[in-house]
Symmetry: C2
Subunit: 198 residues, 2 copies
């Protein structure tokens, strides 16, 4: 599979694809972070998924893209797998087909998990669940979490306002559940208490 990949690099806030583009490739994020989003009728933006290294995205049986995907960080490297070559490969090598199904299943699992987070009632519960998700997915030390995205991104991801995100983080800091060494760094002090919030 790696043989048919074309690697492309994007800068901060550049569009990897946008709604309405023809579906030509499946993608795998190699380095950096990206967001999958859409603009709602009233001008609000909804972020459907954050993408981290190793995540596949763009898996679709439609002809055209439903969402926009944008690089969150600079130096976002993406492997692009042309659909028709993937299909050909899957036809000749069943194990590739199996791998593709696995990847789709992983994507399903991630989205279902996401629905559970969105289903939380209170804003503190959403923010705590978000931090736990980031701790798990942004691999590395799970106590020192990097949040590459802005507060606005987090708000659009959790479907709450920026101010509420900020307040929830401040509250967690005051209660010594987390520390905020910088705007984009979170240190989890009390994992159990954070999990209790959800």
């Amino acid at each position: 599979m790696e043989g048919i990949a074309a690697f492309r690099r994007w800068g901060r806030d550049q569009e990897i694809y946008r709604r309405g583009d023809p579906v030509q490739c499946w993608f795998r994020l190699e380095t950096g972070v990206a967001r999958k989003s859409t603009l709602l009728g009233d001008g609000r933006r909804r972020i459907v998924d954050f993408l981290f290294p190793g995540d596949f995205f763009g898996i679709s049986s439609r002809r055209y893209r439903e969402f926009d995907v944008t690089a969150v960080t600079g130096n976002t490297l993406v492997a692009c797998y042309p659909c028709h070559r993937l299909e050909a490969l899957a036809n000749s090598h069943p194990e590739v087909g199996r791998r593709l199904r696995e990847l789709a299943a992983d994507s399903i699992a991630r989205l279902q998990e996401r629905i559970l987070v969105l289903g939380h009632v209170t804003a503190p519960a959403k923010v705590s669940a978000f931090l736990l998700e980031m701790a798990e997915r942004s691999c590395g030390d799970s106590a020192a979490v990097i949040l590459p995205m802005s507060r606005y991104d987090i708000a659009d991801y959790l479907a709450i306002s920026v101010e509420t995100v900020s307040r929830a983080l401040t509250d967690l800091r005051h209660r010594k559940v987390i520390r905020l060494p910088s705007k984009h760094e979170v240190t989890i002090i009390d994992l159990a208490m954070l999990a209790d919030e959800t």
Copy 2:
């Protein structure tokens, strides 16, 4: 693919599978309606997806089930496709593998759509979006929608309280956007206005 299916029938509120069960089959709902749900720590229930005839479910690469799936209506008929036989079939018939990937992609599209609905801010917007979704998916006359599930199910699906669901429906009825011939029937009078709510 149809050759390897075993058909089973479930009654109202019976479990098709539950969290923790080993993953042995993929399923296709033939008749009736089902819900995919999970119980949260605080005793709340979250419904992740409603399943209608034609929907595939249980697609997973994990070893054990993450959610419960329960029949909503009586006489729910399900086609069960054993995983290992599906894999064998996909290995010998690439077009089956392709079909399975398509189904997974459909499932992804449905879940993403669902995230957008959950992301709506106000309760009336969620309920309106829900009605539109039901009008589209419960095939048949799209103006006369059947809601087989209870108000509690709808509440757990939209992550709002039962009372709020009830109030939103009553409000839409008062404003002549919908009619409610019975508790489980909705007639859409003004589709445009309903879409405006979202």
